[in-house]
Subunit: 431 residues, 2 copies
Amino acid sequence: MKPSIPKGTRDFGPQDVQKRNYLFSIIREVFIRFGYQQIETPTLENLSTLTGKYGEEGDKLLFKVLTNVSGEENAPAKRGLRYDLTVPFARFVVMHQNELHFPFKRFQIQPVWRADRPQKGRYQEFYQCDADIVGSPSLMYEAELAQIFDLVFAKLGIPVHIEVNNRKVLSGIAEVFGISDHFTAMTMAIDKWDKIGPDGVVREMTQRGISAEIAEKLIEVLGNNDLEYYRDLLKNSETGSLGIAELDTFWKYLSGYNTTNKIIFSPFLARGLGYYTGCIFEVKATTVEMGSIGGGGRYANLTEIFGLPNMPGVGISFGAERIFDVMETLNLFPSHFSERIKVLFIAFDEPSHLYAFNALSKVRENGICSDIYPDPTKLKKQIKYASDNQIPFVAIAGETEVESNQFMFKNLETGEQKSYTLEELISFLKN
Amino acid sequence: MKPSIPKGTRDFGPQDVQKRNYLFSIIREVFIRFGYQQIETPTLENLSTLTGKYGEEGDKLLFKVLTNVSGEENAPAKRGLRYDLTVPFARFVVMHQNELHFPFKRFQIQPVWRADRPQKGRYQEFYQCDADIVGSPSLMYEAELAQIFDLVFAKLGIPVHIEVNNRKVLSGIAEVFGISDHFTAMTMAIDKWDKIGPDGVVREMTQRGISAEIAEKLIEVLGNNDLEYYRDLLKNSETGSLGIAELDTFWKYLSGYNTTNKIIFSPFLARGLGYYTGCIFEVKATTVEMGSIGGGGRYANLTEIFGLPNMPGVGISFGAERIFDVMETLNLFPSHFSERIKVLFIAFDEPSHLYAFNALSKVRENGICSDIYPDPTKLKKQIKYASDNQIPFVAIAGETEVESNQFMFKNLETGEQKSYTLEELISFLKN
């Protein structure tokens, strides 16, 4: 039997795990620095929690879970795998509302599962990294989330544009053009701008019942990204003006802050999903074609679906898998990690092997990542094990070293070598 | 609709996640220090990988996964949830054998799922923390794994005994007593010593076909925990003597090493599971009744089930959920974590709120976990938010502070307060 893993899933070997941990730890550190608290929800949710929350298409992509335990053999599935982090978070807030202090700032870094057709860069099991605030309408949080995007991508070394728009501005535009009834058609279409271009967007809109004349005029208008232009355009639309005011407040909070990356007003940004109601965000790498690598926005009510009204919120999500690919493409991962093994002990015979193992224990007591070849076998084989595992130094012990209470310490990269006592060796590796 | 989560699963709120992260990070740090490399395997495995690997009982406890995607609606389940970390690791080694360098030292900290009847302390979704070495028969690794147990529990502050035995010693004893045919009956019975006592063990053995006379004699013999006694007892058993020699080598490697906790030869330790073939371990807290909180042992062949022979290994596992409970009982978690929010900014009006938000951005640029109340609302309400979130300091800004370019900095625990410039505030919080 030749073993395999399901299509759309992945094994992560040591190098991939180190890279992924590096990526997650930077996102995590920034979330924590900004006062977000980590929660975790179970992989298994009741199907009733998940069903109907992601549209008809989403329902089809839910993984359902069965057991063989007695009484359940032929029963329909009652559990499903987490499909995103938002619905479980909403459920969490409702279930724990009496233990939480609002506004509640949480982050969550966990895998989710979707029965999508596997293809390059799309997996059935992948990580999401979300930060949300619930229980406050303050626009200050929008500013804070933009700062988080900026800082994370600065730390990762990925040059990005952070695009900002406001659903109320889009709504005002629809009002001005008299197509409020076709608002979803409009946002769904302009959302595809990057993929299908202006002609494509016009075609999409006309197919969805917007006249070609209006569609073309709309494209022309949206090409303008000067906020002052929209302030004037929307001055008679209450909703539109409110959207402009929200963007003003957002920028007011950022006025004293120097970002590494540009934050750009982008009228074409629509975030097709119906549930956003205020500011919306999307992040794009400027030096690689990759689509959106982060996004988010304000929603009027997160928890209404579970019976708890008046819980406005705003949140962002990092597209971890795409960010990983961007970092590989731009060669942004460190060439080696602080957690790598620094020295491999190598011995010539049984007594020196025991001598080396005792020394190794002392090295490890000093918090230094270190190892030993398990047998006093051929030197060449042991050296090969060190280089195969990217270990930069070896500490060799034979009869002479045991007698003089030293080690032959060798830099495998330069070939340089030197006799060291154990104390000298530890002090060298600590610095 | 009142939301709930499936029985046997758990939400982890911020405090629990901090504690769990603390526990996992200590285990992780020690694994890495000892040269183990982290891997991750998918949650979803092919059912064919899992089925038949955990006995009949295990097969019943597997969670099976279905989808609604076209072509799969009525098909039987082909995927299952990870049931432990050992079988996926064996599969990983076989699939990636050409990329790995042996001996391969890996660790893995991931959740597993079992459709067990939920009860106190037993969950359907829980974490395992495993470290294994495959591709070497060296007894040095047994010594290293005992050191890892010792160091992790020392760091956590849990006093433990690390019990050691060898399956070959048990096999030799069965030989000497002429009950080699009843070896499994014997190990299964003595494994329950802690739970059912000597009379219970004798009863178990007689029920499984061992004569009462032999069973009672066996209990008497096993009461002796002097290795020299067994060396003599087993001198004519080849297997038994080999087991004694293995324990000698194990102790030889530890001879130069001072452990925090006692490592004890325990003839009653049997690890009922059939697959161990050499040294076996079990860890018990000495000041709390909790059963085993760690265990492991040597196996002759990890990967044979997937067609790759000659892959001996040895590994250990930390019982994370039980260790968590022990730490709660003994009050061993830090009272607060380094990642907590250190200061909350508080403002009296709109201008001072903006002033405070700009200052906060600078504080965060200095890597300090910090936050601000989102609106310039009543002082009392903002102070309450700080204490509800266990934030030790507040930095208050009103008209006076904006004018003097300062903050009223207050220690919420002592009530002490002082005017600070932003620089003074940052420098105070950094130390």
